[in-house]
């Protein structure tokens, strides 16, 4: 069973994502911030990471750098989730090394499709 790590500070959002992903048949790991995420990542490598960029006191780009620094994790797809919709955000994220970029709010169908696509490619 493929496993997805959700990094999201809001409990409701986590629940939402978990419901959708578990229904798709994926295993879900949850972290409420970057620090916890890295801890979980040290214990095991997931098949996908969904990383919310809007967690307070947490720089999503730095977390990504940390992840990429680890050789074990270099190949894991990391998708940025954000409610920001400023021009250039998407390009910035992709340029920094995120595998994908999803702007919130997002139709659940879209999340499903995107996750399926990325995991099918592996």
């Amino acid at each position: 069973m493929k496993r997805i790590l959700i990094v999201e500070d809001k409990a409701t959002s986590r629940e939402l994502l978990r419901t959708v992903l578990e229904k798709q048949g994926y295993g879900v790991l949850e972290a409420h911030d970057g620090k916890e995420a890295l801890r979980i990542l040290r214990e095991g490598v997931p098949d996908l990471v969904l990383l919310d960029l809007q967690i307070p006191l947490h720089n999503g780009y730095e977390v990504l750098r940390e992840i990429r620094r680890d050789d074990r994790l270099a190949a894991v797809p990391v998708v940025a989730l954000t409610a920001s919709a400023m021009q250039g955000d998407r390009e910035k994220a992709l340029a920094a090394g995120f595998t994908g970029y999803i702007a919130k709010p997002v139709a659940m169908a879209h999340i499903r499709d995107e996750v399926n696509r990325l995991l099918a490619a592996k």
Binding site: Q54, A83, V106
Partner: protein
């Protein structure tokens, strides 16, 4: 013609009287200081007195029997006229003319010529009396010259004194040799205090040594020119006060050596005016600078306020979207009956929740767009794209809305070319106009979209058979927060931002948008977008 005196005693008395008379006449003729010459009518000299010899340099023997024209200058014609008048019996009085001395020199004479008549009264010759006026003439000319000079001198004096500027003439050693009244007034000295004194006394003490060497330099290459162009020249009065001057110099070569004429103008008043003007200008410039500074700082404040506002709006909209994420998400999950089936009522309720949540999301997006447009941060992603497929997508997306109201939705676009625009934004514009059309058209109505290519632009029109918009509101509809009001019987939806954003988007592309509509006669919203260049 003289006879021997000794012979006289031997003659008869009548003859003796005649001889005596002749001798007296001869003495008189010889005693005259003027030349007395008689000639025949043809001009042959018949008598020549002693003074004639003195004046013309010829002895009697040399001239008697010779033509009088020997005395004439080579091209003298007027003599012929004199002879003519004599022949007629006229007399010529004090006629001034010239003759030639034996030595070639010119002699000025005053002639008196009379006819000699015989007993019958016929003219048989002429008698000329010539007075040598050479000397007189010379004296006369000298006097005239002196008078003219003295007149010229007087006029010169007058001019000098009348000049509004001070005029000084200085010799090679720097002494003042000439000055006018204005110079006295300007410098505060009397004539006597200046004449013969060195011109440096008029130069401010500090500049004196320099001035002397400048004078020397000028004397070596004198030219008419202004002195020290561009320099602030000053002069010194008798009371030691200084005043600003303008000086121009001219060389004057006289018999007494090189003189320099200086024209001095007191420019105190002019300097004062200049300084006043400068002061005013500086004041003005300073005020202007201060005002500009004020304006700039206010501009900065305004910019800052705008920026803060935009940033606020942007962050607010992010904050607002986040909860929507879960609202929409869970609503969708429920609708999909992921956690169990729903009864029809539950499904309908959920439908409302979903619809309004999506609506809320649209509103938030609109506000965000608006804040971007206002702060000039909306960037268009221009690219050439196929218009026909773009419009087809929008029409499909909106078809459900039209079907709900049984409105006939038609895509009459025939343009197959490419537009150079932001595809996403064009879709937004079409979506906005089409959804408005559907909103404001009653059931069973008709909404369609058509296009026409013109020059560099594509003109697109979204038309409906809806309630229409009164002409007085045609411009206002495009304003922010405007909502077609009471006339529409309460069909109020949205923030009223849609058309304002649509207009901004069109205008950002360089196009225009306008409305044709009448109440109850439907509406036609037209806009232009640039075609892709081939």
């Amino acid at each position: 013609m003289t006879q021997n005196i000794d012979d006289l005693a031997a003659r008869p008395p009548a003859e003796r009287e005649l001889a005596e008379a002749r001798r007296i006449l001869a003495c008189i003729v010889e005693s005259s200081d003027d030349a007395i010459i008689s000639t025949t009518l043809d001009g042959v000299i018949t008598s020549w007195n002693r003074s004639a010899g003195r004046i013309f340099g010829y002895a009697a023997e040399e001239m008697i029997g010779r033509p009088v024209s020997l005395l004439y200058l080579p091209d003298h014609r007027s003599e012929i006229e004199i002879l003519e008048r004599i022949r007629r019996g006229e007399r010529v009085d004090h006629y001034e003319t010239v003759r030639r001395h034996k030595n070639g020199q010119v002699v000025f004479v005053s002639l008196t010529v009379s006819p000699i008549l015989d007993e019958a009264g016929q003219v048989i010759g002429s008698s000329k009396i010539a007075r040598d006026i050479t000397e007189t003439k010379r004296l006369r000319e000298q006097e005239q010259l002196a008078q003219a000079e003295s007149r010229a001198e007087r006029r010169f004096r007058k001019l000098l004194e009348a000049a509004p500027d001070a005029i000084l003439e200085v010799d090679a050693d720097g002494r003042i040799v000439l000055l006018n009244e204005q110079a006295e007034k300007m410098f505060g000295y009397s004539r006597e205090e200046l004449l013969g004194f060195n011109v440096e006394m008029l130069v401010p003490a500090a500049m004196r040594s320099g001035h002397a060497s400048h004078r020397a330099a000028y004397t070596s290459d004198p030219q008419t020119r202004p002195m020290g162009t561009g320099l602030e020249l000053k002069a010194q009065r008798k009371d030691r006060t200084l005043f600003p001057v303008e000086i121009s110099l001219s060389p004057n070569r006289t018999e007494d050596g090189l003189r320099v004429i200086a024209l001095v103008r007191d420019i105190s008043e002019r300097k004062q005016s200049e300084n006043r003007l400068l002061a005013v200008r500086e004041l003005f410039t300073a005020e202007l600078a201060a005002k500009n500074e004020q304006l700039e700082s206010r501009n900065r404040e305004v910019e800052k306020a705008n920026r803060l506002k935009s940033e606020f709006l942007a962050s607010m909209s992010h904050e607002l979207r986040t909860p929507l994420h879960t609202i929409l998400g869970f609503s969708e999950l429920l609708t999909e009956e992921v956690e169990g089936p729903l009864n029809p009522k539950q499904k309908r309720f959920l439908g409302h929740i979903l619809q309004d949540s999506r609506h809320l999301l649209d509103l938030i997006n609109e506000v965000l767009d608006l804040s971007k447009i206002e702060s000039g941060r909306l960037e268009l992603q221009l690219e050439p794209f196929d218009f026909a497929s773009c419009i087809e997508e929008v029409v499909s997306a909106i078809r459900q809305q039209s079907e709900t109201k049984s409105i006939r939705l038609e895509n009459r676009n025939t343009f197959r070319g490419l537009l150079n625009a932001d595809r996403l934004r064009v879709k937004e514009v079409l979506y906005n106009l089409l959804s408005n059309a559907i909103k404001f058209t009653p059931e069973e109505g008709h909404v369609w979209v058509e296009s026409l290519a013109q020059n560099d632009f594509l003109q697109v029109a979204v038309c409906d058979t809806g309630i229409g918009i009164p002409p007085e509101e045609h411009e206002a509809v495009f304003e922010k927060f405007y909502q077609v009001g009471d006339t529409t019987r309460g069909v109020r939806e949205g923030t009223g931002l849609g058309l304002s954003i649509t207009k901004s988007l069109i205008e950002l592309h360089g196009g225009t948008i306008w409305l044709e509509s009448q109440p109850a006669q439907g509406s036609r919203f037209s806009f232009t977008l640039p075609l892709a260049k081939p």
